[in-house]
Symmetry: D2
Subunit: 449 residues, 4 copies
């Protein structure tokens, strides 16, 4: 038996090395190392509180964990872990602690199973990533709101499209505030995910049934920042709900980002010409010397789709798996980590790319009235005089058809007049947009507290 | 132009009937009819409040909507809708209202777009389904907790498995409470989904930019039960966040249900023999006369996987779609409705099947000690005497190996002793399980309020 | 027991009606009715061949099946099936045959299980849909090739984009032939799917083990058009490989269609102005009188994403399901049917919409040189004089930058010269495009045979 | 500009390092290095054939590529590539070749774009992995067939289940041959995928339009083993069909493997006790000393679900992406590679675990008649005497019910008699199973040629 394995007494054959390597999650879960250290330190507390570990041994273990923390930062731990052929980061830390703390090290795993250890560590990791996702989402919302304020002052107008066809004139500030809204929602979602992850602490649940050793579970949960120890050991070690929710939050944030990406990719084309991504954020071609491509937005769009499927795979890997721990959940964990890591990186790249973007307000405003975008206002004016909506719609539609055929443009109000004429809360009327931005700003500030 | 179409003035050719039919969402969105009526009534309020609609016309419209409500219940409306070849349920209701309210009917759509109408109706529907999902989840949790209480009294023990291999003895009550926990979480998730759906009312957002007619948006939002009118029209008509969350809540509830299903399907086999699903809930074979199959659990398990993918498809259908409305969102809507409808039906079937299940406590308890399930207790007892955990584990492992080879079973405590010996909060110790059930019960009651 | 149920002798309680309804697949599998009739007729042959059924009874059954065939066409059968509350279409047909053929009807199911019946019927259905998918894919390829030929004659040029940024001038005919290629591949895929589906006939496999009655399996397989009877009954009734492949073929065809849709949706905007979808294929807005939206392309794009997820759900529903039949496979079947039906409809709509599309060659050609699209040709000319590629690229890149800063356009060749200067097989050079179209045309003809 | 970048002349700002790192695919595509070398060598041939590259330069480049090949094997190249901060493996190889071949190195990329280079390299990789997947699938089928032959000789019987409930007695050899069938299908699928991948060579397609340099595309395609050069450059660089098919083949193979895993995981429990996975392939618990878990089967099952979703993500990432290259396709590529790598590893682990499995034929056979598994034979015997099938079914069902109530078992034939009594092709009758195995064996041999 390899010394890094945490079992073996009842086995009469050594493991098949190829299967051991296939089963290893080390490359996927090395990122969990700092969170396992927190979890292990809290377990030392639980053991000490329960009188299972003498103070001196507890101190030795804490010292060893501290050393590993340093080795993680220097990269020395990753090298050690790979060399041990440990099954996972938890086994590798256990092995290193046993080297460092000698006799005391043999007791670190008392009353603990990898089941509760993995569940706890994963929650700590997900809570951390959710907190980072929240900060980033709020920052993106803030960037968009700040840009909106600038363009509200300039009263930049834009032919808003639906189905990509010219629809109605709106303020660029209105579009930017529409782009900000989902990120405020996502920031809230990430916040809720974090709270849920830190509600109930699995540590001390053992393999499935709890422990016959009097572990100080409450102290451990408190030390880690959880609201309380999990009240059912089997559910605690077997469910992946909060961790999947963290992954889902990244998926949904990216789905929302991908919509903005699509629009900006097109706005950066000469055909639209509404925006320019700086050279620093663009990419060239190895063949075509003239190229400047808005790659970050494309990569974020692609990542959204890819992680969306990956999340379905993660949920799929728990479907039909009986309660308690089954090794399938290792695959679930790997997928969750992959989604959180790549999702965060993509969200961060999106935020950076946004800061490299310049809008061409002049060109936008010049196009805002093209495509009969004020037709609805003309129809609404008829309705205001008492003409039924259906008839007003038909009349203006006929006017558009006639104009297209004759080539004569009707004498209709311009785009800015259309925008200023809007009368409803939440509309693109500059006064309403100003109100919306204020309210958005207040909520962003609240979320960022 | 078909009279049921809500546009056409600028078109010089009639629509290709095959494409019109392909584009129709009527079959998918007929289920939204009652929610469109609410939405339409609120729009009448908004028009009246804004002075756009005279009181008499408003009354005529309200009367017509009332009539349609009756026709929905009798099935007459569905027949009408199909006969009109309307593009969707909204067009069909509009057509029927125009028949019923004559002149007034021509004004129902004033200041309204299908974009804000669809968004609002979908939120009302999702809020309703989320409320139903919440009730059902809470009821499932309650059923499991009630069963747990019964079996706690009987102290039924069970060989809990991990990896499907005998792990440790636990109380059946403990297993049942583990099964209940996710449904309490899902009930909370459904509750949050409902709240989120009813936060911000799209009605009055028009197609994308708001309206130049002075619609009474606040009154309409209030009438529908929303917290407030949406503050950005473009976001309001283009985002599907809350609706997707409703679908996701069903997917995740089913994923959790599928895990219990897997376990119960196996428990119902003669090999395990732990449970029996009544004849009323079982299904036979058209060929094999002896068959009694636990089909509801299999269907729920399969539905979980299927809807999980379907949800990925729904999210996929918004990825890379620019802000505002694009027709892709019709596909998103159809997928959301399909997931909510089938998800609710599956959750309901799961609840029903649970009520048809009987556990065989005698057989369970008889098997609870087999497979050396108390080995961990034996090792823990060594640890309590000061032997390091790693050594204790190795010693007991070797004892198991020796016993398997010799065929002599070690003189170890029995399963009930193991269960009673558990010392931690959240463990399977009967006293702890009693506490957990109390706490669960209190939270279920709170959720059901 | 309901008379429509095909089991019940060993049951002491009637089924819970709510669970029975949840378990019914009738609404999903009514579309299989004609294929079940074929399958049932072949089973009559197998029974007769095996001497299990007298000739008179066989004739009575064949007559009854013929009657049901007529009733399917008139719609009478669907009404009957719904009224019987049958579990599925197979039970409904069995019930109707028993009504029609009286005593003989009681023997139709001899030696047959719904397991082999469902598997066979589903394969017949999938083979049929694959054949239709193949025809449609080949037709789409043909439409695109025919359009390409037209535009090759006109030498319409286009600024091909990569990353949506102007890349290099190409012929519109070249773009159209690029759009045709995937549909030729998909036509081949559908063809292979059909062949695979018709390889091995499950009929006569019984529930899982084959039959002790001497069924004439070879005659039945031959009658249905299969290559041979399945050689392992358990695999035959439990695998869904060929049926899933049919669904997958639709998913992948739509994914390829969605890419063209995206491009055409943008080409139809005023910003690009390269194409116009006719009024007959466009859709208006209920609010904005001027709107003409390219809805079919958007719906196809959305359907591609949705069905992609749905397929993952179908595969997910077989993952982790033990060999042989489990009720989860009913969900798999429903998903497969939904994907084939909706996938075929979307592909058909795509084909129709293409036929409603007009390209604006003048506008395209006018824009083909903008955005320095001939820069690569200029660099290649340098390389041809012996300048290393890397240096040539850098020089021309610097020239572009200088031109952008100064506003002076370099005196470079025009788009048509660029296109004509291409020297490689498969390039956009008109001579090469002509060759490609010839080769494509020949392969399409071959596929359509 | 970093020297590793293959563009930059028209850029006035250096790239944002964070965005450059986000956009790098180096970690994902290092595995493509050997295939890029092949591709690059073939491009040298194309350049030389076209007279663009002097023979001496061509030799220098070939020598440099040879050196890189060695460096890949020693790991030196990976270290170099990471140190250069190249955007991808292609840029890293280009940079290393320029170091090694000096002046000649500046010409390697003449007439080539990363677009055709990436497309070609990915196809070579996928063809290689498909070939390996084919070999492995055929080997798995062979293992199962060989085991089947052994157990056919012993006439081991088994209570086959449907819905996990006892269904009918079958031979273990029959079950094993049912398990082998899908892998023969998958081997064929992999073979087709490989052929499709090697049909049409993208190299020489340039960025999108072909090249104005007279590249020897046919020689290059031949050197790489493709059937012919791609006939449309835009399709060649933009489609990912064959590569996605390779990923799909792994997904479907794993889905089929997961079904067998589920069954074996349960067969390894004491409740069934049909099989034992050796110590070498099992895993223990860090807490429970007695544990032996069949982890490889669980990991394969989980991997099937996870990769299924991941594949949907890969397809999702091409949906709605216009023709030609967009950076989203980098995400597609990463997903394809991840699926092929992890899929192959899982299939290999499955093959290994199967070889560590022992069946307990005695226990299996002893249980084969339990659960009234011969009831169908009894009913069939009635049918053979002329009793209608429906009545026979009802009678035997009633007998089962009566037996369950009275506790008296009916005097029915035993399991082996049932098996021997089967009369149809493809049934579990030992003679039929022997035929099936012969036919399977012949096809496996054919596939392995």
């Amino acid at each position: 038996m390899s010394d890094a394995l945490q079992w073996g007494g009842r086995f009469s054959e050594p493991p098949d090395p190829a299967l051991l390597q296939f089963g290893s999650s080390l490359e996927e879960d090395l990122v969990l190392a700092p969170f396992d250290l927190q979890c292990s330190a809290a377990h030392v507390t639980a053991l000490e509180e329960g009188g299972i570990l003498a103070h001196a041994d507890a101190s030795a273990l804490r010292g060893a964990l501290q050393t590993v923390a340093t080795e993680i930062q220097t990269g020395a731990f990753a090298a050690f872990a790979r060399a041990t052929h440990a099954e996972d980061v938890h086994g590798a830390i256990d092995a290193r602690v046993r080297e460092l703390a000698r006799a005391a090290g043999e007791s670190l795993h008392a009353g603990r199973s990898r089941n509760d250890q993995v569940a706890t560590t994963l929650l700590l990791y997900c809570a951390d990533r959710a907190a980072k996702g929240k900060r980033l989402s709020a920052q993106i919302a803030q960037t968009l709101v700040s840009q909106a304020r600038e363009h509200l002052a300039a009263e930049t107008v834009l032919a808003a499209t639906t189905h990509w066809q010219p629809a109605q004139p709106v303020l660029l500030a209105f579009w930017l505030s529409a782009a900000a809204e989902p990120f405020l929602r996502e920031a809230r979602r990430f916040g809720n995910v974090r709270t849920d992850a830190m509600r109930s602490c699995p540590l001390g649940s053992g393999a499935v049934a709890g422990s016959s050793l009097p572990l100080g579970r409450e102290a451990a949960a408190r030390e880690l920042g959880f609201t309380m120890p999990a009240r059912n050991a089997m559910d605690a070690i077997g469910n992946r709900d909060a961790a999947l929710d963290a992954a889902h939050a990244f998926v949904r944030s990216l789905a929302n980002a991908s919509r903005i990406c699509e629009e900006l990719i097109l706005w950066c084309t000469p055909a639209f010409g509404y925006a320019r991504l700086s050279d620093a954020a663009s990419t060239g071609s190895s063949l075509m010397p003239q190229k400047r491509n808005p790659d970050p937005f494309e990569l974020v769009r692609g990542t959204a789709s890819s992680l969306n499927g990956h999340y379905a795979g993660a949920v799929g890997s728990i479907c039909g798996v009986a309660l308690s721990y089954h090794r399938d959940l290792q695959v679930t964990k790997a997928a969750i980590i992959a989604i959180c890591e790549r999702g965060y990186a993509a969200l961060d790249a999106f935020a950076r790319a946004l800061s490299h973007l310049q809008f061409d307000g002049t060109r936008m405003s010049a196009q805002a009235g093209a495509g009969y975008t004020v037709a609805t206002d003309v129809a609404d004016a008829l309705i205001a005089t008492g003409i039924p909506a259906r008839e007003a719609h038909a009349r203006v539609g006929a006017e558009v058809l006639a104009s297209e055929r004759s080539g004569n443009l009707p004498a209709w109000p311009d785009a800015r007049a259309s925008v200023r004429g809007k009368a409803t809360i939440g509309s693109t009327n500059p006064l309403m947009v100003a109100q919306t931005l204020e309210s958005l700003q207040a909520e962003i500030a609240q979320v960022r507290e």
